[in-house]
């Protein structure tokens, strides 16, 4: 009746997951009870859960990403503590548990923290910057989000029902095959990643369509803000790479569920094929994350330098260059499998060529600052921290692309230090810069600067104290994923690294304090103009938070910096001109399709993990029925009357006219 699911699935013998799981469940129930008691449930259901507004979906993505960032960070703290303790000892985590912790850390951080954060910011910002009212397929957007949330839920469910994969964040066969991983851990991984992967692919389709088809009148490709270009490049990579991931994991699933032999030791299976395929997705994946991060830095550096981006076309070229070359480098993940001098050299050179594109970007940001008037706000600090950190992280990356050097450093702690160097210094810093930068647009008030800057300095210092020692132990021959060790030379470095984690915790606390303090002081920090930073692109041309339709009248774009151009002309004319002619607007209706779909997807995933076949059929029927009901709906849109549009827009117009043009709040 319940397949493989029995009481043994609950880890009664392991206090750590049991207690932490219980705490999480109680906290979630507490929040739910609080929301119901306050009577907020109808509001949440109407305005958020069923919302197809790209701004609300973007905010929910970021919230999910931040929650998962905390979860993954807790895993990181556990790992650093284990390695600090496990010298000539077992530490406090047995290998069976430690292996789940590092597998969950990687999976969660890449797929359920970084991806939702980047996609969330894309969701919120891209339609506003393009000067349009929504994405191309609003309901599909909601489905994407909820499927991603399903994946995150399944991963976290494995904490207390069963186990998570013990194979690393990429389940290399033969270790991940049934013979060597008979538990449900790998199955949780497979279904969580497959379901959220569908969501990511749909996001890719949605944003490529939006950017190619739905720009404001006059916004040609070369008038798009840099963030839109990087979002386009990132989504093109999603379209090309995620089907590879889906197919690869589907083959592993067939091996595990139906006795196929794609990657097994027996019957002609070839595990090498998995390495090739998974990295054909895996390497573009890091550019899917880092390209939008580059876009965020471009926006922030340009705005706070008070200048347009230097070498805009060069920047676009570098972005597309990285986008294409990122597909020609996957073999550098296994130089040490012995492909031979020619193959290794070609992939080594291809990999280092990517650094040309990144180098060009770095110099363009440098010359954007040249001749500027730089305001050192929190987002600008994150960007400067990125510029100085990422360049050395890129350097260690190119080092790993030199095959003879990789023969010494492959899979070592040096590698671990390298990719945290670029992902933390590149993506996490960007996301925190982006959240601080667009927060006033999303909620109508700025974030408090003191705690934001404190968070930055702790994060920067903590980053170096944590990861520089890992470079050193890598040079001392330490490989990754060791649950215990007995090499005395490694110990002091691992202790320093654990101390670095404490500094990072201080940074995380400052970040949380910043959000809380800013919320409490929101009336002091209020921005009524919608343009708190003296911005240059169209998202700053509307109110904060923007009305549901984003722009009362679609902007007419005449320049690469659409809003800067508008402000300049308005200043020349001493005012923003007469009130436009308002018309009634049609906006997409909210839909519970995404949420209901994800509900059934969760059931399907859970049933497949535990082989509860009847429940899987129930889930499939439910998901299909949801789709049919959505397809047969009669009224997809509703009308906002012209008077309502005018009423919502006027308040912001008045606030803008009272504020002096070109002068910023800071």
């Amino acid at each position: 009746m319940l397949g493989k699911l029995t009481w043994d699935a609950i880890p009664f013998d392991q206090p750590i997951p049991l207690i932490s799981g219980a705490v999480v469940i109680l906290a979630a129930l507490g929040v739910l009870v609080w929301v119901i008691a306050k009577g907020w449930l109808p509001y949440l259901w109407k305005e958020w859960i069923t919302s197809v507004d790209h701004k609300h979906i973007g905010i929910m993505y970021v919230l999910l990403g931040l929650l998962m960032l905390v979860r993954g960070f807790i895993d990181a703290i556990m790992m650093r503590a284990q390695q600090a303790l496990a010298f000539h000892a077992q530490g406090y985590l047995p290998p069976e548990h430690y292996d789940q912790v590092f597998s969950a850390h990687g999976t969660i951080m890449v797929l359920f923290a970084a991806m939702p954060l980047v996609i969330g910011i894309m969701n919120f910002v891209v339609p506003l910057q393009l000067g349009v009212r929504d994405v191309a397929f609003p309901t599909l957007n909601s489905v994407s989000f909820w499927l991603t949330a399903t994946g995150a839920l399944l991963v976290n469910m494995s904490l207390i029902v069963g186990e998570f994969a013990r194979t690393g964040w990429l389940p290399y066969p033969p270790l991940s095959e049934l013979r060597y991983s008979p538990g449900v851990g790998v199955d949780y991984y497979l279904w969580a990643v497959q379901i959220s992967g569908v969501g990511t692919l749909l996001t890719g389709i949605n944003f490529v369509t939006t950017i190619l088809e739905m720009r404001a009148p006059g916004m040609t490709y070369f008038r798009m803000p840099m963030f839109c270009w990087t979002a386009l490049a990132s989504c093109l990579l999603i379209l090309a790479a995620f089907p590879v991931l889906t197919a690869t994991l589907a083959m592993l699933t067939l091996d595990r569920y139906l006795g196929f032999h794609f990657f097994t030791n027996e019957a002609g299976g070839n595990a090498m094929m998995f390495m090739n395929l998974i990295w054909a997705w895996g390497h573009p994946e890091v550019y899917i994350l880092v390209l939008p991060a580059f876009g965020i830095y471009s926006e922030v550096i340009s705005t706070f330098s008070g200048k347009p981006l230097f070498g805009y076309r060069s920047m676009v070229a570098a972005t597309l260059f990285i986008c294409i070359v990122s597909f020609c480098v996957w073999l550098h993940h296994f130089f040490t499998m012995g492909a031979g001098g020619d193959v290794n050299a070609v992939f080594g050179i291809a990999t280092s060529i990517i650094a040309v594109g990144t180098g060009v970007k770095m110099y363009n940001w440098l010359f954007t600052m040249y001749g500027g008037r730089i305001r050192f706000t929190t987002p600008m600090l994150w960007s400067l921290g990125f510029m100085t950190t990422f360049i050395t992280g890129g350097m260690t990356g190119v080092l790993l692309a030199v095959p003879p050097a990789d023969f010494l450093l492959h899979n070592s702690m040096f590698l671990v230090a390298h990719f945290h160097h670029v992902i933390v210094g590149g993506v996490v810093f960007a996301v925190l810069a982006g959240i601080t930068y667009w927060w006033p647009k999303a909620f109508g008030y700025r974030l408090e600067e003191f705690w934001g800057k404190a968070a930055f300095w702790f994060a920067l210092a903590g980053f170096y104290v944590t990861f520089v020692p890992l470079y050193v132990v890598g040079i001392l021959g330490m490989t990754r994923r060791l649950q215990h060790y007995d090499v005395a030379e490694w110990r002091p470095w691992l202790m320093i690294s654990a101390a670095g984690i404490l500094v990072l915790i201080a940074g995380a606390i400052c970040q949380m304090v910043q959000l809380s303090v800013s919320f409490l002081r929101r009336n002091e920090l209020r921005d009524t103009t919608g343009d708190p930073w003296d911005g240059r692109s169209l998202e700053w041309a509307t109110a904060s938070p923007p009305p549901v339709f984003n722009f009362a009248v679609l902007p007419q774009v005449q320049d690469a910096e659409a809003f800067w151009d508008v402000k300049r002309r308005a200043r020349e004319m001493h005012g923003s001109g007469s009130e436009p002619h308002y018309e009634a607007l049609e906006m997409p209706r909210n839909s519970s399709t995404g949420f209901v779909c994800a509900f059934f997807a969760t059931i399907i995933g859970f049933a497949l993990v535990w082989h509860i076949w009847w429940l899987m059929i129930v889930g499939l029927v439910g998901a299909y029925a949801t789709f049919v009901v959505f397809a047969w709906r009669d009224v997809p849109e509703y009308v906002i009357p012209a008077e309502e549009v005018a009423r919502l827009d006027r308040a912001n117009r008045i606030a803008r006219q009272e504020a002096p043009y070109g002068a910023s709040a800071i």
């Binding site: 060597y180 027996e266 595990a271 600052m369 030199v402």
Partner: protein, 308 residues
């Protein structure tokens, strides 16, 4: 004037080398560091690594300094800095901006091309001595080193003669692992159904660190072995004096079962066809665990699978 240029360049290079040395000094001092190799392969790898670091530091350090300098000078409160809100394009700067990384990668590309060929792990070392043949097999979770010419085998201990090239054939009887002795140099994967080759040499007697550099399951941390380099005469004595049961199919059957932290022991009398039988999968692969939540026939994953 002519003599100044090279001097400046030399001084700059020396400064960079010093910087690199200071950064890496703590690790250089230790044993088992990849920067303290005891053989020609490790030395070749380490030199290329350091070359690449120096080439890149030559542009990385100035770029970081210029970034901080620009950010500081063009701060909004500096009234002496000239504000140029329309400085958004300069053909000359664009040319330089694309040239600097491109030229660096050209140089580095040469290093990569030459290094990849010269240090290809499959290529025999240039030496007049005949290499010692060693066949390595990984099991869950121990290393088996077969010396086919001596008809002996050793578990979790690799004894090698100093100054003589070593030729490894490496495969796995279960999941992937990586053969790695940091002091000797290059590592290579051990993969089921495939045979990798590796050529190494140790020039200094001593006991070194040996490990698997690819995660292979719950007993991975104990995938350690002791590489011991001894003078040639001592190696011959050791090989002649090795005792133990013969290594045949039945003995391999025992190795195929999962076990952890196995103390080193030896075999005398090795079936010469055994390595090929494992590599060509004529012998069954490693058994794998009988644990894991939700796996058939298991009650409690955590208390199982431990070494006795």
């Amino acid at each position: 004037m002519k003599s100044v240029g090279p001097m400046v360049r030399q001084a700059a290079l020396q400064a960079l080398l010093c910087l690199a040395a200071v950064m890496l000094a703590p690790s250089l001092a230790c044993a088992d560091s990849i920067l303290e190799p005891v053989g020609p392969v490790g030395r070749g790898d380490a030199i290329i690594l350091l070359d690449a670091v120096v080439i890149m530091l030559a542009i990385v350090v100035p770029t970081i300094m210029v970034t901080l300098a620009f950010a500081w000078w063009f701060r909004a409160s500096n009234t002496r800095a000239v504000y140029r809100p329309n400085f958004t394009y300069s053909g000359r700067i664009e040319l330089i901006v694309w040239s600097i990384p491109t030229l660096t990668i050209f140089l580095l590309g040469g290093v990569i091309w030459i290094g990849s060929h010269r240090l290809d792990p499959f290529e025999p070392l240039p030496s007049t001595a005949k290499p010692l043949e060693i066949d390595a097999v990984t099991f869950d979770w121990k290393w088996l080193f077969i010396y086919p010419e001596q008809r002996i085998a050793s578990v979790n201990r690799l004894v090698v003669p100093v100054g003589r090239p070593l030729h490894f054939r490496i495969t796995s009887a279960s999941v992937f692992n990586v053969f790695f002795v940091p002091s000797f140099g290059s590592m290579i994967y051990a993969m089921n159904g495939m045979v990798s080759q590796l050529n190494l040499q140790a020039d200094k007697p001593g006991k070194y660190l040996g490990l698997s550099a690819h995660f292979s399951g719950d007993g991975f941390s104990d995938m350690r072995f002791d590489p011991i380099a001894v003078p040639a005469a001592q190696f011959a004595d050791w090989a002649a004096g090795v005792k133990g049961a013969p290594l045949d199919r039945a003995a391999v059957g025992v190795l195929l079962k999962q076990s952890r932290a196995v103390a080193p022991y030896t075999y005398r009398g090795v079936d010469p066809a055994l390595f090929d039988a494992i590599a060509s999968q004529k012998l069954p692969p490693g058994e794998g665990p009988q644990s894991g939540r939700g796996a058939p026939g298991t009650q409690n994953a955590m208390s199982r699978g431990r070494a006795p």
